[in-house]
Amino acid sequence: MIVDQRGWMTAEEFNEAFALSQFLPGPNVVNFSVVFGSRFGGAAGAAVALAGLMGPPLIIVTVLAFLYAQFGDIEMLGRILAGITSAAVGLLIAVVAKMAAPLFRKRWDWAPLIAIAAFVGVAIMQWPLPLVFVVLAPISIGLAWIKR
């Protein structure tokens, strides 16, 4: 919509902004709205884009949070949510597989090792994310630097 209907950005600018928000820390879509909004109206543009993105969902989810607090104990609701969670986990696995395919398909280099180390550190060892990140991110960036 941003590119095709409104002509707010060229496709190239869009990809650029999207790539940037992908690897900034924090929620990608939120980052994107800030990057996108700031291109137009600086800080005000970023704030407007953010409010537009987050406002309506926040109202809806607050209502859902209230309803869950009231009715979360109902067994039927619990069963439905459990089924949704199981499906959502499957979706996550598909995301991982799609991301991993290009990394693992290249000849065996450092990228899969870093990914496996991050997985083991957080999922198996249950170390704090900031710790794992502070150790692995510099190593990974350093390896990417050397390889170029």
């Binding site: 940037l20 690897f23 900034l24 820390p25 924090g26 929620p27 939120v30 980052n31 800030v34 990057v35 700031s38 291109r39 309506p56 969902p57 809806i60 989810v61 607050t62 949070a65 869950y68 039927m76 069963r79 439905i80 949510l81 459990a82 089924g83 949704i84 969670t85 199981s86 499906a87 959502a88 986990v89 499957g90 979706l91 996550l92 696995i93 991982v96 597989a97 799609k98 991301m99 991993a100 990394l103 990228a111 870093i114 990914a115 991050a118 997985f119 083991v120 550190g121 957080v122 999922a123 249950q126 994310l129 900031p130 692995l136 991110a137 990974s140 960036i141 390896l143 630097w145 170029r148």
Partner: protein
């Protein structure tokens, strides 16, 4: 004084927002560790439920922090958690967006982008693992996960259909 949950709520999510490369999906294990294991804000099942609600809600999945915040401290908790999770990273994104274009071809910039991909991949994998442990308690639940993974990988189906199917199967009482 120290019992006010809003302070750790803000502190944890503000910190998390700066390390969650890969977005909400990468931050799930750390949220789970804090909310369930460290702070005992909620049960494993309540966390998994919050995740499910955030998935089917419109808007970014990071909205799970709003649900956790609400669970901990009502409306104030919801507001504090949301601002903490989005605030620091928004300021950061804003600052980076202004300077980033000047370094389009810089070698260090390419290295950062390439280097962070495998890290976030591992983190998202860890999210799937942590949630699977919370949600897939029996063979039917694990089957839903496996089938959903295959369908989502092989097709471009709207995820809402998969959630609907999972919810109906869950309701049927097999899980």
């Amino acid at each position: 004084m120290n019992d006010n949950p809003l302070i750790p709520l803000f502190g944890y999510f503000a910190m998390l927002s700066l390390f969650a490369v890969g977005g909400a999906n990468a931050a799930i294990p750390e949220m789970h560790r804090i909310a369930v294991d460290v702070m005992h804000w909620m049960s494993d099942r309540q966390f998994a439920d919050s995740f499910a609600i955030a998935q089917i809600s419109p808007g970014p999945n990071i909205i799970i922090v709003t649900l956790i915040g609400y669970h901990v401290a009502g409306l104030a908790g919801a507001a504090v958690a949301t601002v903490a999770m989005c605030g620091p990273t928004c300021v950061f994104a804003f600052l980076v967006a202004r300077t980033w274009d000047h370094f389009k071809e810089a070698r260090w910039r390419i290295a950062i982008q390439a280097g962070l991909v495998p890290v976030s991949l591992g983190l998202i994998g860890a999210s799937a693992f942590v949630l699977a442990r919370s949600a897939d308690h029996n063979i039917y639940a694990a089957l839903i996960t496996a089938v959903t993974a295959i369908v989502a990988f092989a097709t471009r189906i709207n995820p809402l259909w998969l959630f609907a199917a999972g919810g109906i199967l869950g309701l049927s009482g097999w899980l």
